[in-house]
Amino acid sequence: MMTDLNALTIAEARDRLRGKDITATELTEACLARIEDAGALGAFVHHTIDVAREQAAQADKRLQGREEAPALCGIPLGIKDLFCTRGVASQAGSRILEGFRPEYESTVTAQLFDAGAVMLGKLNMDEFAMGSSNETSVYGNAVNPWRRQGDDAALTPGGSSGGSASAVAADLCLAATGTDTGGSIRQPAAFTGITGIKPTYGRCSRWGIVAFASSLDQAGPMTKSVRDAAIMLGAMCGHDPKDSTSADLPVPDFEAMLTGDIRGKVIGIPREYRMDGMSAEIDALWAKGRAMLEDAGAEIRDISLPHTKYALPAYYVIAPAEASSNLARYDGVRYGHRAKLAPGDGITEMYEKTRAEGFGDEVKRRVMVGTYVLSAGFYDAYYNRARKVRTLIKRDFEQVFADGVDAILTPATPSAAFALGEMKDADPVQMYLNDVFTVTVNLAGLPGIALPAGLSGEGLPLGLQLIGRPWEEGDLLNCAYTLERAAGFVAKPEKWW
């Protein structure tokens, strides 16, 4: 049977485009038709059909040229709503940016389009990337294409990059951009059976990406395979003078580093990630991953990362503190929503009403928590202490890497995807626990990748996470590639939408 074009991986499509077997226009039309038909997933929230067709036509011209076109030339992508795209709505899933059309293009999307990629539209996400279930979005929920066996309950695709995960898993696009501040690429990737990598802090420029917590935010690709992640990451990263934290380091050919040979590599298994009450299923998956890497010739070593337990509490000081500062710019003056004012209202009322109307509950909560921990009298007790704990968390990783560990294997999430609405009555901290395995990686600035490794008893995808040394995404991807081949995960969600 012929695979529908929209279901191709980037690598397959690239080869067929270069081989003149298909055109970028055909590929793009296949995706547009599939998107048209997938409203129930709530993945695409702004459709850019004209842009897509124009970019596909340009790509087709380039593919006819004498020079070999870049790998992403003619590849249809979805773009998370957090990326500013010139002239196209970019709202970060928030009401406060309603109507905002950037006059500029984010560095990451500019690089993707320079490489010939096609933008199909903007993707749903938790408001300002704050959430783990895509339920805080102004657009409404994104829905996971996967369902439990024999159960129609709508499940979360995870968050904050929930629209990206849903779109890639349902083959609405070949791949999508995501961003990850505490797990927002890796948790949704795990919930939807796809691959997502957060590179080392500083690999991808943050310029033009709506800021949440600047010391933690990183962009990365969400794809159908590790090879695709390697291809797309290569196009997304690189030094950018417009982001002072962007690393001036050469970008290796990540795809060329996928040899599948990890003999002699040392894989650490951190004992602190075996949480109390961890499900037997997740534990079994983790053990399976360990066995597969061992079979591939890696040395497995039990390690300790003693400050793991304090990562989430430190994160929930640092991220809200940075958010409260970053989101101060939404004041109703320069862009986005401004509240209707009553007679006699002054500028303070304008700020207060605008922000009350424009921000959703979770964003308000985090901005206020951030304001509190930075306020006079609490700065040392909370913010400075959290930054000291962050130093210790990073030191834990430095120590194991210095002892010769090449990569660390952990579960990606504490459970499979849960139902939309299931956490409605839980307190905010319960939702935060979703990021327990991923958030350490952001605090330490390391690269981390989630990839599907099995199905739960209810037929839902489960993911494993590999954490790499700083700047060694190539080795990390090769390790993930080896695990991917051993796991042989090929399941796809059955189409119900």
Partner: protein, 95 residues
């Protein structure tokens, strides 16, 4: 550390977010849950540990202090909720 209604109201004011009085008790409860979670950090021995400033040990790049861009008034004002005569317009600030 427990947040009372007065503190919740003060934080909302500092954050420039209007919160109705009847919403304050629920907000204070949520703050207390989150702060209770954060309190765990008190268990960690941080004696002599430097607070992290930058996650990657890189020097920020410097550049020449010169004008490289400008003359973009239209673009800058294009998304303003209220722009008049080439300026952002806001309610009266000074009596």
């Amino acid at each position: 550390m427990s947040i009372d209604l007065q503190t919740a109201a003060r934080v909302a004011k500092l954050a420039r977010i209007r919160v109705d009085d009847d919403a304050l008790p629920a907000l204070a409860d949520e703050f207390n849950t989150i702060l209770g979670f954060i309190e765990q950090l008190g268990e960690v021995d941080v004696e002599g540990v430097e607070p992290m400033v930058s996650v990657t040990p890189m020097r920020l790049k410097r550049r020449a202090d010169e004008v490289t861009d400008g003359d973009r008034q239209r673009a800058i004002l294009s998304n303003a909720p209220d722009a008049r005569e080439g300026f952002f317009a806001v309610p009266k600030v000074v009596e």
